[in-house]
Symmetry: C2
Subunit: 279 residues, 2 copies
């Protein structure tokens, strides 16, 4: 097999298994070439990705070493993705009675959510290894799944009611931040290993009641929350029930009467646009 044939195949093997360490031995056997040749191929792929900021290829030296693809968006791609999201959300046809906004199509869009997943993976990669991505059913699942895929971590779905198919569960009551209703969340004992480092991902945050609930639930599991990412946070209330989170977009206003929606990129994304460093 020639290099020009191996390059697409090695690229595909790496991209199909984001975050997974693949040994040079496996690649060498799979594509019938010497490890030194594969090593050169990988260097070409690594440099090409680096030049275009299309994620990163990491090589780990030594006997247990190998190569792995770390997804992530460039600053420009982050700004572009969030701008598209804001523009799509600003469509007044999305306004529902009561001043709600229809966004189910966006939060379950495979194309958009795989980009957002890579975005969050890149954003939280520096926080260290993530043992599980945690989300609350239902609408957070697509974003959380794509983030988990990009981080090569399992996904743990917190249910709103306990199910017989979840086995032994930890069930917790919490107060929804805005409506002040008592709600229930429930997670299988088997869903997280002891002492897990978890990343919480959700689609929407208003007062932060369910985010707060998830943080408290993680404490019950002895898990450490290493980060929290939400797609959209509302501007009001300014004081959320959680302190540390990364939002991509801020919902400023839904005016049912004037048929107006105002959504803007979050401060973090704005700073990327201006070329500054993230927080």
């Amino acid at each position: 097999m020639r290099r020009s044939q191996r390059l697409p195949l090695i690229t595909k093997t790496l991209l199909d298994r984001p975050g997974q360490l693949i040994s040079l031995t496996e690649l060498a056997q799979c594509f019938g070439a010497a490890k030194s040749t594969i090593s050169e191929d990988v260097a070409i792929i690594r440099d090409a990705f680096a030049a275009r900021k299309m994620g990163r290829i990491e090589t780990v030296a030594g006997a247990a070493g190998g190569v792995r693809y770390i997804p992530g968006l460039s600053d420009e791609a982050i700004v572009e993705t969030v701008s598209e999201l804001c523009e799509a959300l600003s469509d007044p046809q999305r306004i529902l009675p009561g001043g709600f906004l229809y966004m189910s199509d966006l939060v379950s869009s495979p194309t958009l959510m795989s980009r957002v997943g890579e975005l969050f993976a890149g954003r939280f990669y520096s926080e260290g290894p993530v043992d599980a991505v945690v989300t609350l059913e239902t609408r957070g699942i697509p974003i959380a799944l794509m983030t988990a895929r990009a981080l090569n971590a399992p996904l743990a779905i917190v249910r709103r009611a306990s199910r017989v198919t979840e086995g032994t569960v930890v069930t917790m009551n919490y107060v929804s931040g805005s409506a002040k209703r008592i709600e229930t969340m429930s997670l299988s004992r088997r869903a997280l290993p002891p002492g897990a480092r978890v990343l919480i991902i959700d689609d929407f945050m208003k007062a932060g009641g369910s985010a707060r609930g998830l943080v408290d639930l993680m404490e019950e599991f002895g898990a450490k929350v290493v980060g929290m990412g939400v797609l959209i946070a509302t501007a009001e209330p300014r004081q959320k029930l959680v302190k540390e989170y990364v939002a991509l977009a801020v919902l400023e206003l839904v005016d049912e009467e004037r048929r107006e929606v105002v959504v803007r990129p979050s401060g973090w994304v704005e700073r990327l646009r201006e070329g500054g460093p993230g927080p």
Copy 2:
């Protein structure tokens, strides 16, 4: 930029947007090469993928043409994926009180589900274009999302209760096939375009009550069901409430007392293993 640099980048561009037609003009502008050069690059990638049966690269001629990546697993990869699934499910530690089986970790595994999504996409690709992948919350969402991604189709999530954030919904009662309970399912009017061709994807089928409900709900939307894929179907009852579906694995037995689980690849997968054609 040299060919060896372009090959990984074009491969990545195609894989990041499965099922999407990308024009040669876009690739030429993006990677600073003539369209004829890009066309040669694409032919190299296409042949390499074809030789290893790692999905397909399709080129569409003409002014509105371009190139697209069609995910799909080789027969060997399908057999391997389903065998791994069956082996994982057969672990007696999964047995829950009442003879249920814990499988939440598997149905939400990003690695396994992205392979299953490519598997279903390849399996149903010949049924013609799919306008939406439809699933019932919660556990079917990861498989359905990954299938939708591989088919470049939106995902429509049917809810078990209607939500204010879904706008106008169609709500339907149905009878769960095994427990004979009345259940409710609900889908936003906005979730499907009129006359949509839909693929139904779910994680589990026992008697097929919720599958039947989804088929009936699609009728209310004037949508045409072009296929149905489920990860695991139970061997009993043999007569399901839906006739046409593709299951990957069959759950034969969960014996709580003897701590035994029997799961086998479905007939379709068995025939692939024996080298025969699928149905």
